[in-house]
């Protein structure tokens, strides 16, 4: 069962699944074995973006490099370009996103996953990602900066 860290900033509480790694731009990466890495938006990213209206992931078979756009998400507030947290080939796209993209908001670490990627060099990419505590600290900085601007 997935465990979570929590961070509360003002009236907002953000959760961080402890079983995965994070791209600084708010994309998680969960290795599943046999070179597959499942990816999705962090709780902070989905809360910051707001209600998801449309989610489009690059089709199966698309090659992506670390940091390339792997998905685009349109919310009522903004458009989010989702960078790939791992290099490889898109092996599976969450079929729920077409009819129910709100699943990203409802369950960002579970049913709201975006894609599975057949990684070319997970160990190398993992070294470029943040562990949950490091990502939490990054979110703390960003969220507190946002609060100061208000």
């Amino acid at each position: 069962m997935t465990e979570f860290l929590e961070l509360t900033v003002d009236k907002f509480t953000f959760r961080f699944a402890t079983d995965r790694y994070y791209h600084p731009e708010g994309v998680w990466a969960l290795p599943e074995g046999e070179g597959r890495v499942r990816i999705g938006l962090s709780d902070f990213a989905q809360q910051s973006g707001g209600d998801v209206a449309f989610a489009e992931v690059k089709p199966v078979g698309t090659a992506v490099a670390f940091g390339d756009e792997v998905a685009s998400i349109e919310t009522m507030k903004t458009d989010i370009v989702v960078p790939a947290p791992v290099s490889g080939t898109v092996a599976e796209v969450n079929p729920a996103l077409e009819m129910s993209p709100e699943v990203i908001n409802e369950d960002p670490y579970g049913e709201g996953w975006l894609a599975a990627i057949a990684a070319t060099d997970w160990e190398a990419d993992r070294a470029r990602l943040l562990d949950p505590q490091a990502y939490l600290e990054r979110v703390r900085e960003v969220a507190e900066e946002e609060m100061r601007k208000r």
Binding site: G50, D51, A53, F54, E74, M76, K77, E102, N105
Partner: protein
Amino acid sequence: MRGKVVIVPCSGIGKTFGTVSREAAYAVVEDLRPDAAELVALSLLVLGDEAARAAVAEHPTVTIDGCRLACATKMVQESGLPVARSFTVLDAFRKYRDLKPEGISSLNPEGQKLARVLAEEVAEAVDEVVKGET
């Protein structure tokens, strides 16, 4: 109360989609179905205002929520009152992707169009609810 159907829109102040929900509600009660629909403020329901509660209790209610939090629908239901039909701006935007609303105090042209098409959907729902009542 002259209206047969109560419209309760989102009260999300400072939110674009809250503005769209309220603009749609105004269009229904002032323009599209002035004789069949009446507004009730969500804040009055939350405060337990007797007249607002009575209006919702005695008439079919249509809610227009801005986002998935669905505050209007939830607050009507948590007041122990029924919701005849519910709409969200988010669902309307999914149907009309080119109408992306922007602005808060003043919507952009796309937001105004989105409010209008949503209002037309709500007006049709008002007709159906009224028909079902008679």
